[in-house]
Subunit: 335 residues, 2 copies
DNA sequence: CCATGAAAGCGAAACGTTTCGGATTTGAAT
DNA sequence: ATTCAAATCCGAAACGTTTCGCTTTCATGG
């Protein structure tokens, strides 16, 4: 494999000159041609490893996520990766299988690989797995979930979950529903709390008192959504359900199908987060959408800014959700 | 950031000794303790960049795929990544957006990053984008699609698509169907040809003559499946449809829903590839499944073998599909 | 034709490892 | 104590870049 030295020998120029040209410096026209010719002839490509060692910048971003098989996260990564790659950065992905120990290990692994930045949708609640990164001066971007202890030290891109949940529940209330169930994520998780807050806020704001029985906790898995739905369907008076993530939406639908619950006649349903699914389900599902593309773009932007410029300004973005109307919400006339 | 030199100074030992110990060599007990202590005290971690430069092995595998938002591919990557990371390898993912030019660029990018191996689900038909990798002696593993020109030079992990398609179509024939539509991928793509072959084989083997009108080509997108289904539904006599990938299965269902086609009463349907979907759709969908986990495992295995051992033996695996029974296939009694 | 300043070119050191081959230490046997 | 092989240790070079501080070359105007 050809090195810069080979180019130097081939062209009769000095190492420094070649390097300078390769990095955008100017050289005399005839030398430029000579270098180009030699590069072509020898099939030279810069050895990023050596470059990285010398510059102590690996041009690599590490990504740590609970799981790859999750449209939320893959869409964001795709978008971010696209932009980063155009800027010469590569993305190393670590799937920690929703396990805090593996998450910690992944961060350690990435730091050892000398990544320039870390994107994390955190599993751990306390965020200690990121301390070493921060100590090392590696910028961290948190998505989806905030960790209070790290406020001001890490960048974050969140979604206004409370508003999103509130909008969904308000939509149900406007349609005449009074007894609205909600299937939340695990207790203690950031997004669970936010979405719960939105639910409660919409209820009280409309003069309804949230009944704890109508609030069930799942674990953001298909299974959890399934069980949550079974539990809710036993409650008398229930006419609508709001499910707070994609996987649980799937589970809830499975449960509904099993019990032949007609949507929206018998039950109104608002799901979360997957456009494609919302179309294929009959009836078309009304869902809360998150701005995935924007999140990915924002993440890429933050990294580029933090690494290219020397602006150590901490960004804390909160983006808005949308409500995509389908046919899964039925109207109840007031008695 | 602490280096090996700091450890040497701290312990009074030589560079070579520390390096040796760090790489699993034996040192005197008291030195071992001294090194451990110094490592802890200074928070030393090996600089993989420097190590890679010296050993000219980056311990990184590059992955080039048409798109990340695709359960087929993410499941495989997850599995492979899991195994590779446990062995100290990281995975760089490049999503080429189903664009051959971007795919070529991604390979170039990865080679510049000095990856030790490349996993590719190819978009390009001729595979020239991989030539530079092969020249550089970087092992390549192809998944899902074979490129004949590269046979014997690249590893491959394929699925017996012909058999899988044949099994699905046979299942329909056994249920009494005679006029069976199939929605294939784009013409000229490897898997399209394989699945078409399976379809034809099952038909002729059962004494039926395949009618070209019942064979439509899509492009492996939701839209393509939708259009294909609309076209098929205009054909008189059609009683069953086999859709040959996940995205198109979604599209086909949307089309069916729009026209209120009852499944399986009016039309029997066999889809492809997504377990979760098959459960959530009502009625439960019968699908052809691919052994995603095994593919991921096999890929990791091939890389580890090729990189750790010096066994340059080319592997060409062909795995079997399964048929997951749902309720979307109805029986037609012979007239 | 010379002086001059700017532009371009250069050698050498450094980044943090690994590794080679020789030097030193160890500890058991004499 | 002495010897000796085995075990351990070590200095130095090398991996392929970038970069610093000089030196050389060039074009221009006088």
């Amino acid at each position: 494999m050809a090195t810069i030295k080979d180019i130097a020998r081939e062209t009769g120029l000095g190492l420094a000159t070649i390097s300078k040209y390769l990095n955008g410096g100017t050289v005399r026209e005839k030398n430029r041609l000579a270098i180009e010719a030699a590069v072509d002839k020898l099939g030279y490509t810069v050895n990023e490893l050596a470059r990285s060692l010398k510059t102590s910048r690996s041009r690599t971003i590490g990504v740590v996520i609970p799981e790859l098989g999750n449209a939320f996260v893959t869409t964001i990564i795709t978008e971010m990766e696209d932009i980063l790659r155009k800027n010469g950065y590569s993305v190393i992905v670590c799937d920690c299988r929703t396990d805090a120990a593996q998450e910690r290990e992944a961060v350690r692994f990435l730091l050892q690989k000398r990544v320039d930045g870390i994107l994390n949708m955190p599993v751990s609640r306390d965020g200690t797995h990121l301390d070493s990164a921060l100590e090392a001066g590696v910028p961290v971007v948190l998505i989806d979930r905030m960790i209070d202890r790290l406020a001001g030290k890490v960048h974050s891109i969140l979604v206004d979950n409370a508003a999103g949940a509130s909008a969904a529940v308000s939509r149900l209330i406007d349609a005449g529903h009074r007894h609205i169930g909600v299937i939340l994520g695990p207790q203690g998780v950031f997004t669970t709390a936010q979405r719960h807050l939105g639910y409660s806020r919409a209820m009280t704001r409309n003069g309804l008192t949230p009944d704890a029985a109508f609030v069930v906790y799942g674990d953001y898995t298909v299974q959890g959504g399934y069980e949550g739905m079974r539990r809710l369907l036993e409650l008398p008076g229930l006419t609508a359900v709001f499910v707070t993530n994609y996987e649980m939406t799937l589970g809830a639908i499975i449960a509904g199908n099993e019990l032949s619950v007609k949507i929206p006649e018998r039950l109104s349903l608002i799901g979360f987060d997957n456009l494609q699914l919302s179309q294929v389900i009959q009836p078309r599902l009304t869902i809360v959408t998150q701005p995935l593309k924007e999140i990915g773009e924002a993440a890429a932007g933050i990294f580029l800014e933090a690494l290219e410029a020397d602006a150590p300004e901490i960004r804390e973005l909160v983006l808005n959700t949308g409500l995509l109307e389908g046919d899964s919400v039925g109207t109840i006339s007031e008695p």
